[in-house]
Every structure is written in C-alpha cells, then in structure tokens.
Symmetry: C2
Subunit: 423 residues, 2 copies
C-alpha cells in the first residue's frame, strides 16, 4: 500500500504540466533573463578566443623524439609515394632487395604529453623486409596499398576502407589486414588518413549557427530543419566556416540532439550543436576540430553521467589509442564537461528510479579512467569520477525527461550556462 | 608457384587504370550514349506515374476484417484520447471499472495481402481490464502512456521512445515495456506512431534532385555536398517536395551512397539517392514512401547480393512484422530490384575472391525468404534467390570495387539502367 502511494506520488512529480511540482528545487525560478546568460557566454567565448595557440610537439623541446603526421595536399601524397617507390627500386637494383621502415603503433610506443593534453607516438620503427618469410606478406600488402593510394591521388576521389579491401580481397584476405596496413601507410608517408582520401562512413550531424561549404555547396545550418546536416566524410572538401555562435555544444546522443534541434536552442543561445550519435567517428572529430580552430569557439560537452560519457569526451579531447599517430589532427583540446555530471544527480534531484546501478564493468572502467593522465590533470573531473565510482550510480541525459520533456532545453542547460557550471 | 602467378594476374586485373583489362567482358564498350539511357528512364518514370493508385484495404472488399491505422492530425489524437478517457470515466462511475480493448499484434493476427503486397493486421482484439491481477500493470502503463501522448499533443513537440521511458522509469521498469505499449496505443487510437509525436532516431541521408521543406526550412538536396541531408525524424514536418528526377535510387549501404554522392551520379542520371545505412529505420521508410507518393517516381534498389539485402528490400516494400498494423503508411510498393543480384555475380564476372561463402544461417535465411509471400509473387526474385541458395555465394555492393573504385557509377549502374535490368 505504501508502495502504491509512493508510485502515485512519483507519477504526479513527473507530470511536466505542473512546473512547480516537477521542479523540486524550483530550478526554473533561479533562471535569470537570457540577456544575463548571454553575457556569461560572450565572456566565455572571448576567453576561449584569446588563449594562445596550443603548443606543438616541436615547440616543447622534449627529450624524446616523436612521430606525428600532418595533413598533406594530394600532390604531396602523390610525390611522396613516387619518391618512396624510386628509392625502393634503387635498393632493389643495387642488390639489397627492399624493405619498408614502419613506425611502431604499439602502446609501448605511445605517450601522453600533458602539455599537449593528448597521446602521441614515440619514434620507434621497425624494418619490414620483403625477403623474409615473416614479413613478406605484410610487405606485399604495404606495397599494394601504396599503389592504390597513388591511384586515388591521381583521380582525386574518396573511398572507404571497405572499398579498399575489395580491390584485392585475395591478397588482403580480411579487412582488418588492409585497415591496419592503411594506418601503417599513413605513418610511413607522414600524413593523415584523410590525406590519403580514405574516409570512414559518416555518422555525425550538425545544426545551428554555422555556415560552411561542403564540396563547393554553401550550407546554412540554421536552415536545416530538425534533421540537421549530415557531417561530410571528407574534411578536405569542407571550408569557409562562418558563425556568430558563442559556443559549440557537443552532444553524446541522438535523442538530446533532437530535443535541442526541435526547440531551436541555438536561436535562444547562439551555438552550434553537433553529435556523432554515440562513439565519435573520425569525420565528426575532424569536423569539431576544424570548427574549434577556425571559429575559436569554446566547446561544451553534454554526455551521459557514466564512464562511457567521459570516455567519449576523452576521445574527442585527447584521441583514441589506435590512432595516436594522428592525434594532433583529430583532437580538440580544452573541451569543458558541462553535464550530465555525477554531482548533477543529487543537485538536480534526479529521481532514484531514473538512476541506474553501475555494473561491475562500469565500475572497473570508471576506476581505469581515474588512472588516465587526461583525467588526472583535471582535478574537477577526478572529483566527479570519484563520486560516480563511490555512488555506483549512473544516469543518461534522457533522465532529465523525468521533469518534463523540455526540462533539458528550458531549465537544465540555461541554468548550467548561467552558473558557468562546467569543468 | 602457380598460385603466385595467379595472384599476380589478379592484381593486374583489378588495376582500375587499365580499363580494357579491368573489364573482363568489356562492359564499358557496351554503354550507349547517356541520352539513350535517359530515354529509357523517362519511359520508366511515365509508366510508374501512370499506374493507378494502389488498392486500399477497403477497396478490396475482403471477407476478413482488418485493422489499419492512419496518420491523424494532432488535434484528432488529442480529442480521441479525451473521448477515450471520458468513456473510461463513465464506465468507472457506472460501477463497471475500466478496461481497454487492445488490438492483437501477434503473428497469428497478421496476414499478407497479395493485392496490396504488404502485411496487414486482422481485427482480433483482447480486453485489458484494470481489475485483474494479470493485466493491472499493463492497464496502468497504457493509461500513463495515453496521458503522456496527450501532453505531447498539447505542446506539439516530438520525443523519442527513450524520452518516453524516462518520464516514468519506476512504472515502466524497462524500455521494452513502454515501447510495446506505445505500439498498443497506436492501435487503440487507430493512428500511426508518427501521429503520436514519438519518433525514432534518424539514420538516413538523402542527396540529389530533390527540394523539400524540413520544419519550415527549404532544403535543396543538389546542394548538400557529399554528406547529403540527414533525413528528419518527424515526417509530419516534411513537405513541399519538388523534383525533376526520373527515379529514386535506394541504396543499402553507406559506402555505395558515398561513391554516388561524390561522383554526383544524380547530375548524369537525374535521380534522388537515399540510404538508411543498413536496416531501414522508420524515418527513412516514411520519407521514401512520401517521395514515391508525392513525386510518382519509380524506386530502384541497390542492395548486397545476400539474403539480408533482399530482406531489407522487403522491409521497405512490404513492412516489418512487428509494425504490421502500420504497414499502409510505412511501406513503398513496387520497388524494383536493380542489383547487386545473384545472377550479376557471373554476368559481371565478379572475381571468385570477392564472393563470400554463405554461412549456414545465411542459407537458412535465404530458404525462409523463398517461403515468404512477397518473394513468391515475383517469379524473377524467386529465380534469383534460388540461384543464391544453390550457389551458396554472396557478395557486397563493394565487390564491384575490384574493377576500379568508380566501376559502380561509371559502368555497372549505367549499363543496368540502359538494359532495364531490374526485376
């Protein structure tokens, strides 16, 4: 009976029509006029624009040597491959056979550089000789991939990793082999995978105060309805970015993105809203980085309050381990963790039934994250993550719907922005 | 040694720079001028536009009774819920308690209607009384969902199924429960799920000769670069479709879509290119249907040559079983199977190493499909599927890349169109 009463109360509480009830701490009444919040955001933007250009590996003068790749124009990719082919031919003609010097991408060769706030690759390389039983296959595949990339550079077209695999299934056998050697080839040539014109499939969408060109077409993202604009797979055909936004709102999930797009949140608080719908793909990471660099806007992240939310934030922020050779081009430094943070659960009185217990794996992932350098350098994040692991509770962005479908856009986010409540 | 020679030959064959070699049967030389192919397509379009409006359930005068839902304006959804609530209150006040009459969505209550070429729901219903231990929970959830949908209709906003779940986690317990009852509520109210303003997350993209409005913004899909326009989650805000296309090209996979978009295939052969990136989601199905109905265009499908390719085609064409109550609104009749068809594998000399052996599950799925009515009514499809199951070979669209990255857009598709090679 008591239980029934409780349930009835829960139903009443989550009725979004009665705002005073739905808002246990009357959060809505704490909201100042939008003009005051806009002032806060303008200050944030100026601060973000004035921060000096981030350090580069070479400017740091570190004792260790590192290997990084950069975006190269197609013509350079082409000539680099041709020079390499020439030197291999020389080597063969002079009776030495041939071999590739391949940078190691193993984790033992990776290092987190706090000054850069990202993972980079040290300079260990290994030799991949053709005349060796153990490496003849890999050497052959490497040569073939170089040939295919050369073709792409001549034609100036983009293909997927899957297309690449299918050009020679008999040799590659399975896609993981051509994929992995494609990464090797990036390292060998010293250029990003996008420079090779091999693209990943697109997942991300963008909406809000942004105008940019996609393959020559001008796109106005305030005029993209609710669906938004699909983020193009090939960043090299994206350009001419213009914006009057005050910040970029990076959203983990589709559902929250939809709410923000339908409510045209970007009209009330000028911003660009972007999501990769879960795990960040390369195209979205490149797009975010380009926006941040060209528009000098602060990036605020809205992710689930669980270890994966933070992990996703970290992939945008300091890179994934298996593409660390390309971290300089893929990462967006200085992303602020806006929400949903573990401390928000109590602060915003997220009802118990909307919180989920963390599984053993969740807790382990959380504890592992506490050991990561990129978390440790931000004391606020450590505190939040400690709270999460201790409380053993997680919550999705959608949990805010328990106070009404539009609580996210009408109360939670405006209040967060007003209170500068980011870390 | 022999093997090595063969491999070397394979490498040479798949070299896309040498066209005569890359094209074992000189397919490229079979291509007529585009003007001739365009004539073929114009004829196809006229034929498609002149076919009489498809039959409706009521026009068939079938002996059995059926239940179908339709798109209702928000105001009707609202008033229908209010009338229902009134009748429940009456029933309670007159001492009879209350119960819902819920149409059965079980497979025993489903029927494939060949005249309509889709699955429909028969009219079996069951009672869901509040005053019964076995149904009190479901009745409570049904009431709560009706209340939430009523709120959505008042506010005229869209939410996801996940949002809906989070408004009352304690009651719903897990999302499958609120999802399933949401489908019940559609049936009870006799309207589509889109009419309830509950949308699925968007996955699809569209590019090519289409102009439409998304939430009031006019979108020109020829000016969407390579990324294309994300298909909006809420079809009711999509309208004003205009097009000079001759057909719609429905593509299963992302990679093929990208190739077509980058090569601006729609400029050579006026068409609209659309993909859901794998399994069709509701938003893409609704969008395709709307295009076909409003623009009266033929739909040609490009899917993998495996049982799942055909299954995906069938979901677009005649619906999925668990949403059969809504088949009239979700399906696009008369989709032509353009490729990649099992007979193409030999016809286009897809190299052995680019074909994959079918697994036991694949073969079983293929055999099951042969029993499905929607396959049986098309003798051409039966023949192709028989060939697939017999040869035990499958191939992806990407397998065409073995003849060069642009073989798909420059040879395969133009030749298919020229030869009217669709089923």
């Amino acid at each position: 009976m008591a239980d029934k009463k409780k349930r009835r109360r829960a139903v009443a509480t989550s009725d979004s029509d009665s705002d005073s009830e739905s808002d246990p701490l009357h959060f809505k009444s704490k909201l100042k006029p939008d003009s005051s919040i806009l002032q806060t955001l303008t200050a944030l933007k100026s601060a973000s624009a004035s921060t000096s250009r981030p350090a580069t590996l070479s400017s740091l003068n570190l004792p260790t040597a590192f290997r990084e790749v950069s975006d190269l124009p197609l013509s350079s990719v082409q000539s680099t491959i041709e020079s390499l082919a020439l030197s291999l031919a020389h080597s063969i003609l002079s009776g030495h056979g041939f071999s590739f010097s391949v940078p190691s991408r193993a984790s033992a060769n990776q290092l987190y550089v706090p000054e850069l706030d990202r993972i980079v690759l040290k300079d260990k390389s290994s030799s991949r000789p053709f005349a060796s039983v153990s490496s003849v296959r890999k050497t052959t595949i490497t040569t073939r991939i170089l040939q295919l990339i050369h073709q792409l550079s001549l034609k100036n077209i983009h293909v997927t990793k899957r297309d690449l695999f299918y050009t020679d299934v008999k040799l590659f056998q399975d896609q993981s082999q051509s994929d992995s050697i494609l990464d090797d080839v990036s390292c060998i040539l010293g250029c990003t995978r996008s420079s090779l014109n091999v693209v990943a499939s697109e997942k991300g969408v963008v909406v809000g105060r942004l105008i940019f060109s996609d393959n020559g077409d001008m796109i106005d993202c305030t005029k993209m309805g609710m669906g938004g604009k699909a983020i193009p797979p090939n960043i090299d055909r994206v350009g001419d970015m213009q914006s009057d936004a005050l910040f970029i709102l990076l959203v983990e999930k589709d559902a929250a993105y939809m709410r923000l797009a339908e409510d045209r949140f970007y009209n009330r608080f000028p911003c660009i809203i972007v999501t990769a719908k879960g795990q960040p793909d390369v195209a979205t990471r490149l797009f975010l980085r380009k926006m941040k660099n060209e528009l000098k806007l602060p990036v605020l992240a809205l992710v689930d309050s669980d270890p994966y939310g933070l992990k996703i934030l970290s992939v945008y922020g300091c890179g994934s381990k298996n593409m660390s050779y390309d971290s300089a081009n893929l990462t967006t430094p200085d992303i602020k963790w806006l929400g949903v943070r573990p401390s928000d659960l109590d602060k915003y009185k997220i009802p118990e039934q909307c919180r989920l217990p963390m599984t053993e794996t969740d807790i382990k992932t959380g504890k592992d994250l506490l050991e990561e350098d990129f978390v440790k350098k931000n004391p606020g994040w450590v505190e939040e993550l400690n709270l999460m692991v201790k409380s053993k509770q997680k919550a999705e962005i959608q949990a805010l719907s328990s106070f009404g479908f539009q609580y996210l856009t009408e109360v939670y986010l405006p209040l967060k922005l007003q209170q500068k409540d980011w870390l």
